[in-house]
């Protein structure tokens, strides 16, 4: 190719408003002289892009069906509960434990749909070298994926329940007073919702980091949650009275673990705490266990993404 004149075009001398009608501009390559935001921007962009892709944004309509129905399934109970509370205030239908237990499976399905999309697709389409050749570290990549999954999951596990909290206060006789009186409940629902998102999200990503195939990861997450719950419950029923260690089996069951946490936080009575309350784990132990699980999960995923040399 003959050496061309540099195509670097200087900015137009006149503003667009001064240009003549029909004037042709040279769209030559211009060097970028603007702001460079570095790693922070790359990290943020990866979170946003991953969330958009997982929700099927700018993809075909079929990719949006499942998230749409899951959101619908999460928000309908909120509307029903608020409506019933307004109509029958004494019934106390809009309890937070009821709501969390109602949507736990929905959140699980949501995680099973979202987490594989976060990790498997990049590996399957071999875009990882492009990401790792950018202004991020491998740990940034993993952390961005965990945060993207957790933030998306929180739109199901936190946002509706915050709306429920707000609805409960608004149907009270004195909404302002009710809000002030129940602000502690708001903190609790945000805490539980965030922990559900973090723990389930991390578990989903750990499984997704093991395979390139999205559908395989979805199946393992769904079946895995069911098997863990069944194993924990059957094991505890069979061995609980004979072996002291059997109570630790319950920690592998996400539904029992969160069921226990929810009742621990929202009810005065411990009688309804389910199996795991029988195992006598303290609130602090449960919180530390969950946070420890998230940290170990992140480290595991980082290990999966370590360079193979």
């Amino acid at each position: 190719m003959a050496t061309a004149e540099p195509a670097v075009s200087p900015p137009p001398a006149s503003s667009p408003s001064e240009g003549r009608y029909g004037e042709v501009f040279d769209r030559g390559y211009a060097h970028y002289t603007g702001e460079r935001l570095g790693r922070r921007q790359a990290f943020r962009s990866l979170i946003v892009y991953s969330m958009k892709r997982s929700m099927g944004i700018r993809k075909s309509w079929t990719a949006k069906i499942l998230p749409f129905f899951l959101y619908l399934a999460a928000i309908i109970p909120v509307i029903v509960m608020i409506g019933l509370t307004a109509l029958v205030p004494q019934a106390n239908m809009a309890s937070y434990p009821n709501y969390f237990l109602a949507i736990f499976t929905i959140v699980g399905i949501f995680v099973a749909a979202v987490a594989p999309e976060m990790l498997c697709v990049d590996r399957r389409e071999r875009t990882l070298p492009l990401y790792f050749a950018r202004a991020i570290t491998r740990f940034d990549y993993v952390l961005a994926k965990v945060l993207a999954t957790a933030i998306l999951t929180m739109t199901l596990s936190v946002v509706p329940v915050v709306i429920l909290w707000l609805g409960r206060q608004l149907v009270a006789e004195s909404p302002g007073q009710a809000m002030r009186a129940n602000v502690e409940d708001l903190g609790k629902v945000v805490l539980v919702g965030s922990l559900i998102a973090l723990v389930l999200g991390t578990a989903g990503l750990v499984i997704s980091s093991l395979t390139d195939r999205r559908i395989v990861a979805v199946a393992i997450i769904v079946v895995g949650f069911l098997i863990l719950t069944a194993t924990a419950n059957i094991g505890y029923e069979l061995l609980g009275e004979e072996a002291e260690w059997a109570r630790y089996l319950l920690l592998i069951s996400p539904s029992d673990l969160f069921g226990s946490l929810i009742y621990h936080l929202f009810t005065d009575s411990q009688s309804e705490n389910g199996l795991i309350s029988d195992a006598e784990f303290s609130l602090r132990f449960k919180l530390l266990y969950m946070l420890g699980f998230v940290v170990v999960g992140i480290l595991f995923i980082r290990w999966r993404y370590a360079p193979k040399d």
């Binding site: 540099p6 670097v8 050749a133 570290t137």
Partner: protein, 316 residues
Amino acid sequence: MAPIIEVHGLRKTYRSVVALDGIDLTLPRAAIGLLGANGAGKTTLIRTLLGLARPDRGNARVVGLDTRTQGVQVREHVGYMPEADALPQGTTAADFVGHMAEMSGLPARAARQRAADVLYQVGLGEERYRLIKGFSTGMRQRVKLAQAIVHDPQLVFLDEPTAGMDPQGRDAMLELVERIYRSLGIAVVFSSHILEDIERVCDHVVIIDGGRVVTEQPLGDLGTEPGELIVRVEGDVDAFKRILTQRGYPLSRGRLDGNPDEFVVHMEDERVYDVIRDAAVDAGVALRSLRSRSRSLEDLYLGNVGVPREVTSGNG
């Protein structure tokens, strides 16, 4: 001008395989050809310079930054086009290239603008809102090139950018690569096992073999080095060879295409013409042709490495 790449004693092993064996390099801001057979260590060198692979020993500076301690900053100012088909299927070229610009630290708005401009530059202006999964191999290569330069890097690593392309597509890709350096002013490291591609695009070459740099020099210097004479004779060839050797001009080798009557004689000085003429007369052979040629990249490669099958002088 400060070197764009400085490497000192770089060594990288994969278990028992030595991928890079004590590489030392100081490369200027230029279009640099990284030439070597498959498995010579080209991709490992690029990965190490990007900070993606950790060397066992040695250090490297790219665009003035230490790859070991400033990997993120290096990658902010460097572009990379991998050899593998590394593109998402279900997204548009504009979305993906814009996202890659943001991943290099550009603000969202500037990233979108740059993506549109760069896709236009690589000839995908009209197709930028189409899904990548519908693109041909050539178009996909262009998207890969666009994402490598969208953030206006100081240096771009292109790993076998013409791999798998038909002659027309390859020609267009080489034009683009040449333009990146000559018109856009972005330094290029062009990794390839195709001599012709490097000779066409680059002005500096690094030849790697078995994880070692066997030679590194500007391609322009080849033309000024002493050339060779290709001699074709008919008759008692052995007698002709013997006489020439006795007179201090040994025949170095036959030609690449293996014509048994053709020989290469190093042209040390102008006297060689007279010596060949006299030797032909004394040996009683007919001198059929005598032509000179300057050193080419092929000669440089063959002189340093030999004739590995993987390095090709054609279109690969």
